[in-house]
Point group: C2
Chain length 205, copies 2
DNA sequence: GCGGGCATGCGGCGGACGGCGTATTTCGCG
DNA sequence: CGCGAAATACGCCGTCCGCCGCATGCCCGC
């Protein structure tokens, strides 16, 4: 049975989510704030962590950073829970090595889909491709608009269109559209080629 | 109507191929050796070039190199015609910027498929993804077998599975199988991630 | 000689991707 | 104010990708 650590400071939300997860047959461990979450993560070594971003004292980024810094916990799939509108913050979160994020209010389906997707992927431990870029800005020198640069930025981290849509708070269709323009501008045919262009640019700039 | 330049020193082969192409409604220009081919390419600026590899004096590589060195001709799709068994040579040819190659004897279907595919793609000029690597060998230090290294080598140049199959003289299915192993070994999920690992290795080694 | 790693091949499946068309909203610049 | 570029979004469609299982042949080392 898979063990999930839920870190959420708001009592009602915590209760609801825990209930949902238990009903799905997960073993659920709950932490009420960042510090407790970190302790629990290290002790329980859960299969996956759901963590609120906005918490007093140690926030979600703090938790993620702490866990990614230690060997025992660095590969545990980590999903952020955030309120709508934190989009800007999300990017740094993803850069720290978060695997996904969900915007509250969360639909049960989305929650379970994200969890099962992550559990499936993490069964084979993945390598961290990170942090090649600090910011998408340099990519604009390839003739891209700021938004296109952001898309390419994430493409070059190996993200899928759907993931990028989630990160940027746009529809996957929009990401595809941006990608069309990017391919056109870079003269490549697919995301792999675009990634390579991005890296070239990085190496040059 | 699309204009195709055919460079082939063997008279019978030249005649046959020209006939096939004409019957398909292409305007065909023929050159009997490398030097003539280069001249014709510059003068006629064809939409696509079919070029034999083995020719006296200036061979296929010479032609390709000459055309890629000049602005007017550098983006013309270039397809090699080679005899079975030249596989090793092909790789350097592809690195020079060839778009495809066909092994003689060529089936009419393969020939036309390759041509139409190339014409379709070249309608929007593509960027040459730099020859980043000289040889696949360094990639073996990632724990890959020689063959897997070769596959990754081409993946990192933005090639598609089918293209890689053609280059290595293996079935596309085999390339996919190698890729499965590569993903496993590198701990990534897709070709983009694998490319990045390859470049990382390159930068380090 | 027998196991095990390697290379090769095939086929199927579902999902992701890429191309294309279309349309609306937003925003900056003249 | 109005134009145009950028960003957003949706749908269709064919292809490529990634995953899985299976099978064969080779060669090397124990």
């Amino acid at each position: 049975m898979k063990k999930i650590l839920l870190i959420e400071d708001e009592p009602q939300m915590r209760k609801n989510l825990a209930l949902i997860l238990k009903r799905e047959g997960f073993a659920v461990v709950v932490g009420a704030d960042g510090s407790e979450g970190i302790l629990l993560a290290k002790r329980e070594l859960p299969d996956l962590i759901l963590c609120d971003v906005m918490m007093p004292e140690v926030d979600g980024y703090g938790v993620l950073g702490a866990l990614r810094a230690e060997h025992a916990t660095e590969t545990i799939p980590f999903i952020f829970l955030t309120a709508k509108g934190d989009k800007a913050d999300i990017r740094s979160g993803m850069n720290l090595g978060a695997d996904d994020y969900l915007t509250k209010p969360v639909s049960v389906d989305d929650l379970l889909a994200a969890i099962t997707a992550r559990l499936a992927r993490s069964s084979q431990h993945r390598r961290e491709l990170r942090p090649i870029f600090e910011s998408p800005a340099p990519l604009e020198s390839l003739g891209l608009t700021p938004r296109e640069a952001e898309v390419l930025f994430w493409v070059a981290q190996g993200k899928t269109n759907a993931e990028i849509g989630t990160i940027l708070g746009a529809a996957a269709a929009t990401v595809k559209k941006h990608l069309e323009h990017i391919f056109e501008k870079l003269g490549v045919e697919n995301r792999a080629g675009a990634s390579l262009c991005a890296l070239e640019e990085l190496a040059r700039g």
